[in-house]
């Protein structure tokens, strides 16, 4: 039971508040159970005996108790809210902190969208569950036990009505749930399906119209729509039965109490006022049964969320700074790969095997190869998002694993394949790489990245607001801003992961020329698809299925490396490779 374990851990700091909530709820319930007694007294001793004074006196006592009960309830809600919202905050914090320490390995394992839902929706589910549990669930068993006790002490024989009513109610509820829950799940699937069809129609509007397939789409939709409607009808027709059925059981129970109670009163075995009190107890007991069942519905959902949260919090990050780190004597940016191999956990074939390469400052190394040849992985190993399965990445002569993480990353300028910008201004995005960068430095980076013109044309320029992910600038602009960001860092090692793809050839060429100037002292590694991007690299590394099949300059490789020739031919045509 992850839910129990999670709750135990998460509630530990709130032990005192939880105890107060339980205590106050018990108190509140006790008062609630005592009140019908007073009503009975009003009838037995006041009304039946015609004693008006007694009625007023008892009424005053009742009022005072009610006020006390209300106050207690408000205090209980105060602490319950503190606990449930506090636990939500703590869980969010715990997940976030843990994820921040994750390496690319754990990020891949969970997947970014899944981590986001875990930290938002799942935590919210647990929060809602806890709030309900602390305000309703704590009270239900107390109320049920207390109610049964009071009913028994009022009259044992009359309490036998409960022996029929409670199981009847439980049976009706569970019957309904056992039918409704699968229907409800089926309905969710069908809603997802219909939304998917609509999404496809919107995103594929050009293709649908180009192939004149509106009718086909409408049929597909119509089938999904009818399907959803018929399930929706079944679910809802079942649901509308629930309330009348339960209310019916409660009402019939009170009728039964009146009948049997009447007999007891007739034979002088029970005062008439107790009948009213008894009715109140019965209703309280049945209400608590109802509430308990409602909570049972909530548990599986919270349980699923708890599983997902715990999975994150209990995952140990694979990367950590070594206990006694070694810093290289000088940081020049030399990278050496020694017998480097890497396999993803659970993956059969290694992604990279036995790589040996030297990457030197002032040199540009281009990495080419087909999809799945391991280009991006190689970059990620150099950036130390992963650690190698075997072999070493030496940076400035020291194994990357021996170096303190933060200091190591200080020397890396990374431009990912999917240019990602954060919400904030252009300036803030650039300063993400170095907070202290001056405005002039930012403009210089933009200039090199061929981004100066469009940033200058934006309203507000460096203060132009960028949407989350950078969705309000074009793909090419996003790539250039992402490159500029890495330039602001002024690292010793630049890693460009296929980040020129959205640029047209002319811009690409200008950018690389400017980059060559800027990175004269740095080690530059470029992963690229487009041959024209890498023609003038000092060293071209051709990867095929995780192995190096060629290292050299363009001209050499054309003659010696068939895999390289194939790539060039496919892009530039036969004449270019001739």
């Amino acid at each position: 039971m992850n839910l129990v374990r999670l709750m135990r851990d998460a509630l530990a700091p709130y032990r005192r508040q939880v105890a107060v909530v339980v205590l106050l709820t018990a108190l509140q319930t006790a008062v609630g159970l005592y009140l019908p007694n007073l009503t009975a007294n009003i009838i037995n001793n006041g009304i039946a005996k015609g004693d008006v004074g007694y009625i007023w006196d008892t009424g005053a006592v009742m009022l005072a108790l009610t006020l006390a009960q209300g106050t207690v309830a408000v205090i209980a809600v105060y602490f319950a809210s503190q606990v449930s919202m506090g636990v939500g905050r703590d869980l969010r914090g715990a997940i976030f902190t843990r994820v921040m320490a994750f390496s690319a390995r754990e990020m891949n394992h969970f997947g970014t969208p899944s981590l986001i839902t875990r930290n938002t929706n799942d935590v919210q589910q647990i929060q809602i569950f806890l709030q309900m549990a602390l305000t309703l669930m704590v009270g239900a068993p107390i109320m049920m036990v207390g109610g049964i006790f009071m009913a028994l002490s009022e009259d044992v024989r009359l309490s036998l009505v409960l022996v029929v009513a409670v199981p009847l109610m439980a049976v009706v509820i569970s019957l309904m749930l056992s039918r409704a829950v699968p229907l409800f799940q089926a309905m969710q699937v069908k809603i997802d399906r219909i939304n998917q069809v609509l999404r496809e129609q919107i995103t594929g509007v050009r293709v649908i119209r180009a192939f004149v397939r509106n009718d086909f789409e409408s049929q597909r939709f119509s089938a999904a729509n009818s399907d959803l409607t018929s399930t929706g009808l079944r679910v809802n027709r079942l649901f509308v039965l629930a309330l009348p059925a339960l209310m019916g059981i409660m009402n019939l129970t009170s009728v039964a109490v009146l009948w049997f109670g009447g007999a007891l009163i007739g034979s002088g075995q029970m005062p008439i006022g107790n009948l009213t009190a008894f009715l109140a107890y019965i209703l309280q007991i049945l209400m608590s049964v109802l509430m308990a069942v409602m909570m049972v519905i909530l548990v599986p959902r919270a349980q699923a969320s708890a599983d997902r949260v715990r999975e994150v919090v209990s995952t140990e990050p694979a990367l950590a700074s070594p206990e006694s780190p070694t810093s290289p004597s000088a940081r020049r940016g030399e990278v050496a790969l020694r017998h480097l191999s890497f396999a993803y956990p659970g993956g059969e074939a290694p992604v990279l095997s036995e790589l040996n390469l030297e990457l030197l400052p002032g040199q540009t190394t281009a990495i080419v190869g087909g999809t799945g040849s391991g280009k991006s992985t190689l970059l990620e190993l150099i950036a130390r998002f992963y650690d190698p399965t075997s072999g070493q990445v030496l940076v400035d002569g020291v194994d990357a694993r021996q170096q303190p993480l933060e200091e190591f990353w200080q020397g890396i300028g990374f431009v990912p394949q999917r240019a990602y910008l954060f919400s904030g201004t252009v300036g803030e995005n650039l300063r993400f790489a170095r907070e202290t960068a001056t405005e002039a430095e930012l403009w210089r980076a933009l200039e090199i990245a061929q981004a100066r013109d469009f940033v200058a044309a934006m309203p507000g320029q460096l203060d132009y607001p960028i949407d989350q992910g950078g969705t309000n600038v074009s793909g090419g602009q996003r790539q250039r801003l992402s490159i500029a960001r890495a330039l602001v860092r002024r690292p010793r090692i630049y890693l460009f992961d296929d980040c020129f793809s959205a640029l047209d050839a002319a811009t690409d060429a200008r950018l690389r020329a400017a980059l060559r100037e800027e990175t004269r002292e740095s080690t530059v590694v470029i992963v690229a698809q487009r041959v024209s991007t890498i023609l003038d690299a000092d060293q071209i590394v051709v990867l095929d299925a995780g192995k190096v099949v060629g290292v050299g300059r363009h001209r050499e490789l054309l003659g010696t490396c068939p895999a390289y020739r194939e790539i060039v031919t496919s892009q530039l045509g036969e004449e270019a490779a001739a």
């Binding site: 009503t39 009304i47 015609g50 008006v52 009022l63 009610t66 009960q69 209300g70 105060y78 809210s81 503190q82 905050r89 914090g93 902190t97 994820v99 921040m100 690319a104 990020m107 970014t112 986001i116 609509l198 999404r199 919107i202 995103t203 119209r209 180009a210 192939f211 939709f221 729509n225 409607t229 929706g232 649901f239 509308v240 009348p244 009402n251 009728v255 009146l258 009447g262 009163i265 009948l275 190869g369 087909g370 999809t371 799945g372 998002f385 933060e406 990353w409 200080q410 989350q468 309000n472 960001r485 002319a506 698809q529 024209s532 023609l535 001209r555 054309l558 194939e566 530039l572 045509g573």
Partner: protein, 648 residues
Amino acid sequence: MMRGPGGGPRGGGPRGMMMPGPPQSARDLRATLRQLMARLRPEALAIVLATVLTSAGVALVVIAPRVIGGATNVIFDGVLGKRLPKGMTLRQAEVYLRTHGHAQLAQLLQGTSAVPGRGIDFNRLGMLLGLTALLYLAGAAFSWGQGYIMAGVAQRTIFGMRRDVEAKLTRLPLRYFDSHPHGDVLSRVTNDIDNLTTTIQQGLGQLLTSILTILGVLAMMLLLSPLLAAVSLITVPLSLGATLLIARRSQVQFGHQWERTGTVNSLVEQTHTGHALVQVFGRSRSTLEEFSRQNQALYEPSFRAQFLSGIIQPTMFFLANLNYVAIAAVGGYRVVTGSMSLGDIQAFIQYSRQFTNPISQIASQMNMLQSGLASAERVFEFLAAEEETAASDSVAVPEALGHVFLDRVGFRYQPDRPLIEDFTLEVQPGETVAIVGPTGAGKTTVVNLLMRFYDIDSGHIYLDGVDSAQLSRDSVRRRFGMVLQDTWLFAGTILENIAYGREGASREEVIEAARAAFVEQFVRTLPGGYDTLLDADATNISAGQRQLLTIARAFLADPPILILDEATSSVDTRTEVLIQEAMARLRHGRTSFVIAHRLSTIRNADTIVVMAEGRIVEQGSHQELMARPGVYRDLYESQFGGALELAG
């Protein structure tokens, strides 16, 4: 994705997380209500029937406590009667009690029908309780019947709305999709419809029941005792006031909570998505600090909102008890003075409980109703958007040869920004037109016009000698095959996705097309072969394979004219070779418009159309264009010159 020239790119796709915001209200309430009513009109009979059932059900449930009160009276009379000496009349018993010093008890007798000496009349009690049971059962049955009918009303109405929304999607011009974020359109046709379903399903029936219950109960209370009714009405404004006071404050806090949840979620989303960047740029610590600040900022309104909304129930409970004590006290006094029976008091107490419940229910239903109406308004807005004119062929559809003639075509996305003016181009069957230009030059505009995704403003486009404006859009599009970079596949099997190219294609024909497009090779490696299910975003096959599938689709369609986009980003080189080969095969014998990136395609094209900044700037063959300085020559030299030199 086409983008309006100069208008900047627009965010496509839904935003990461869909967070339901605080309940909003419709801007034009009356118009929305009127439209909603119009939608419900076909269900008028069912709604009337449901109303009748609700009224009947409520009436029964309202009468029942009264009958129970009668039963209580029978018991009470029995208890009293038994204490009195047998054989006396009630009048004599009263005198008897008075003379024996039980003045109050004597007075109590005035309000009863006790028979001295006789105990509880079980026949009468049984009859009354039996009646009550029947009332409750019938009431439950009516209320179920009402729910049953309303479920049908809701589902049928929503079915119709969904159907209309989908039909609307097929009639909207492309301009609509290009100028509205996909996420917004999607949210209207999915989230808003779902929200509206809940409102209609739960809201209407409950609201009706609540209102009728209040009226019925109020009537009964007045009937039983105007004095007590007045007493319990005093607490109504009190509880309404308290609810409103607290609810208003908690709403404000809930608003803050939503807002800050949005902030925290977006921070989580960004940080997780840009995880590698945060780490490598050394921003872990500052991001953590920022998160913990935002997280605490979220906690505060969340706590306040929960606490405030949690107060409502105890408050209502207190007021209900206050009401109860007042009724018991005042009522007890009335019983003692003989002006009311005990049973009536009990009935009254039950009524007063029934009275406060629906009032707080209505308050919460109002919130639901408001947000439901806001959704309805968004859906109606969508349904009212301007549609494409539907026209059928006004001339005989000519034989499809592939001759295309653009005659002085003019087009603008925005009326005040000239884009394409006086563009004339004749393409003979089987010829190739290469469209070139830098990224964002508006190459897709030409596609939009040829396919009649957008209508031209002036001039004519002739297809095999017939003005395309005289043909229906469908007839125009049937002559074209399209393979774009944005490979759209739907959740279905590979076979179904290829078969999409032509209605009624047999399995053999589909497989033949698949072979021609080199799809066969990779399909064989898949466990399900052609029947492999592609998931929602077709992530189980590679980008290159997706491209091949769309080529197979075009093969199957077998059109006389092609529109191809050669760009292949994030495709591995081996697959790229296949794609180029498949495209070359596809182009064989067809008129082709190619958004060209390959040198050989461009050089061998019959005509090259050069675009820049949304406009057509040059037009001619490779030799012609290279012979004079211009955009094409610059482009050619920067892109391929170096490569040729080095390779040469």
